[in-house]
């Protein structure tokens, strides 16, 4: 169980982030977890005087969430990363790389959300 965990809805995200900023909480990062049932957990981690506060939001993969980078500029990297690796749709990222922060055009779409099967080749078999 995560310490100091608060569950919020999508509509509360921006106002909650603003409250965190106003109360001098440092934004650490966001963790995105694929629940493998078409939903994702987004856990926003904040810190104040070394005490961590976790804010959890569960969304359907097709949903669009607002960016908090207008409040915490430092969220740009993690929001771009979530967009690329998990396919989370985020509206209003201050610097939006459009899917090219980490990945190139010929990369897999949302590689962290797709199950990748690794097939072990038979001994001595050459690559196809």
């Amino acid at each position: 169980m995560l310490e100091n965990l608060v569950n919020i809805s999508k509509g509360e995200l921006v106002s909650f982030a603003q409250e965190m900023f106003n109360t001098k909480h440092r934004f650490i990062t966001t963790t995105c977890v694929d629940n493998k049932d078409g939903t994702n957990d987004l856990i926003y981690h904040f810190d104040k005087e070394k005490v961590i506060k976790n804010v959890k939001l569960t969304i359907n993969r097709e949903e669009t969430i607002p960016s908090i980078s207008g409040i915490y500029f430092c969220a740009i990297l993690v929001e771009n990363e979530m967009q690329e690796l998990f396919g989370i749709k985020i509206k209003g990222i201050v610097v939006d790389y459009g899917g090219h922060l980490l990945l190139s055009d010929d990369e897999l779409n949302s590689p962290m959300s797709n199950q990748i099967t690794i097939i072990k080749k038979e001994g001595g078999q050459k690559n196809a």
Binding site: T29, V33, E49, K50, F73, C74, H100, S104, I116
Partner: protein, 358 residues
């Protein structure tokens, strides 16, 4: 005056890591900096989902060579919390000794790179020669110089005997004298000060707003060091965060040099207080539930999030490394600076891109 865009990196003589910056310039002044990463992304977080939770120690150690021990420490501590494992005291002290040796070699590596960046080749070689003593002592105590791989869930794999501990003390005592000698050049030399003082100032307010961590934040007056949380054996040692208030490249250098002396003190304190006893315990069962583990790495706070489902495979392992948190601050200090200062400014955040991308 027309603006030009100068591409900087990912391959550049002063860049230790592959980061690309598009520098929007007006004459010699930087107006904007746009970063691009993705050159060394290895998908390690995804890989951990396919491995046994014990094997993941091997993977997280390879997120970064420079702080590999601390990655393993963060992961093992998190799993130990999740699985209610009590680590023997001796193992906790051994973890501090190796963690501080890692911090020493990381800061010395950085000091050498900084000397190289401002053209002091002899100073660069002198600092790296001193760093070799730490690398050698790691090889002697752990069998490997960089990825020492001594952590395991439940403790550590290797012990250091009495003679080994005495040798470590001897080496860090020598290092103290060596670094005292070069400290004068880094902090008092006219040319060095000219390159560092007042260059790339990050205010305390900006450091907070941008989520800056580690020496970068402490140089801007943020008095925070996660080691004071007391994880491993830090709670039994005397430690005070080292901070400066000027927020410039000189302050960042000063913080790191003072942290070298702090790490030497912590290694000696840990050796002085290390108890006898077991170095690991057996771990039974599989992890279930969520946990967060945070440690102070040489570059600042690393956060590990882990979610277990009761099987040997984790559902998710998430790593937020310190450089990931410090890149926004780099984007803040570059605009308004001169092109000639870019190498110094990039170096003063002590970037580790292999950590950042994982």
């Amino acid at each position: 005056m027309p603006r030009t865009i100068i591409p900087f990196g990912p391959q550049h003589p002063v860049l230790p890591e592959p980061i690309h910056l598009k520098l929007v310039m007006q004459d010699e002044e930087i107006i904007e900096a746009i970063p691009a990463i993705g050159y060394v992304h290895r998908g390690l977080e995804k890989l951990t989902e396919t491995k046994d939770f014990n094997q993941n120690v091997f993977i997280v150690e390879r997120i970064c060579g420079i702080c590999s021990f601390k990655h393993a420490l963060a992961y093992c501590q998190g799993m130990e919390n999740l699985m209610d494992v009590e680590v023997p005291d001796r193992a906790e002290f051994l973890r501090v000794i190796w963690a501080e040796l890692h911090k020493l070699h990381s800061h010395l590596l950085w000091l050498g790179l900084l000397a190289d960046a401002f053209g002091f080749e002899s100073l660069f070689m002198q600092v790296w020669r001193d760093r070799e003593k730490i690398m050698d002592i790691m090889e002697e105590t752990a069998g490997s110089r960089v990825i020492i791989s001594t952590n395991q869930i439940g403790g550590v794999k290797r012990d250091i005997n009495e003679d080994g501990l005495k040798k470590v003390v001897k080496v860090v005592d020598e290092l103290y004298i060596d670094i005292k000698n070069v400290e004068k050049v880094f902090l008092d030399d006219y040319t060095v000060k000219h390159r560092l003082v007042g260059v790339g100032v990050l205010s305390k307010e900006d450091a907070f707003a941008l989520g800056t961590v580690g020496p970068m934040a402490r140089a801007s007056g943020i008095n925070e060091d996660l080691r004071t949380l007391g994880y491993a054996a830090y709670g039994k040692l005397e430690i005070e965060p080292i901070f400066e208030t000027d927020g410039d490249s000189y302050a960042r250098t000063k913080v790191r040099i003072r942290e070298v002396f702090q790490s030497i003190s912590l290694v000696k304190q840990a050796i002085d207080k290390i108890p006898e006893g077991e170095i690991n315990v057996k771990v039974k069962g599989n992890p279930k539930g969520e946990v967060i583990s945070r440690v102070e790495q040489p570059r600042g706070e690393a956060l590990y999030y882990m979610r277990g489902n009761g099987t040997k495979n984790l559902d998710r392992l998430r790593v937020r490394t310190p450089t990931f948190a410090n890149i926004p601050a780099l984007l803040k200090i570059l605009p308004g600076s001169q092109l000639a200062d870019v190498p110094i400014l990039i170096l003063t955040i002590d970037p580790c891109i292999s950590c950042t991308e994982r």
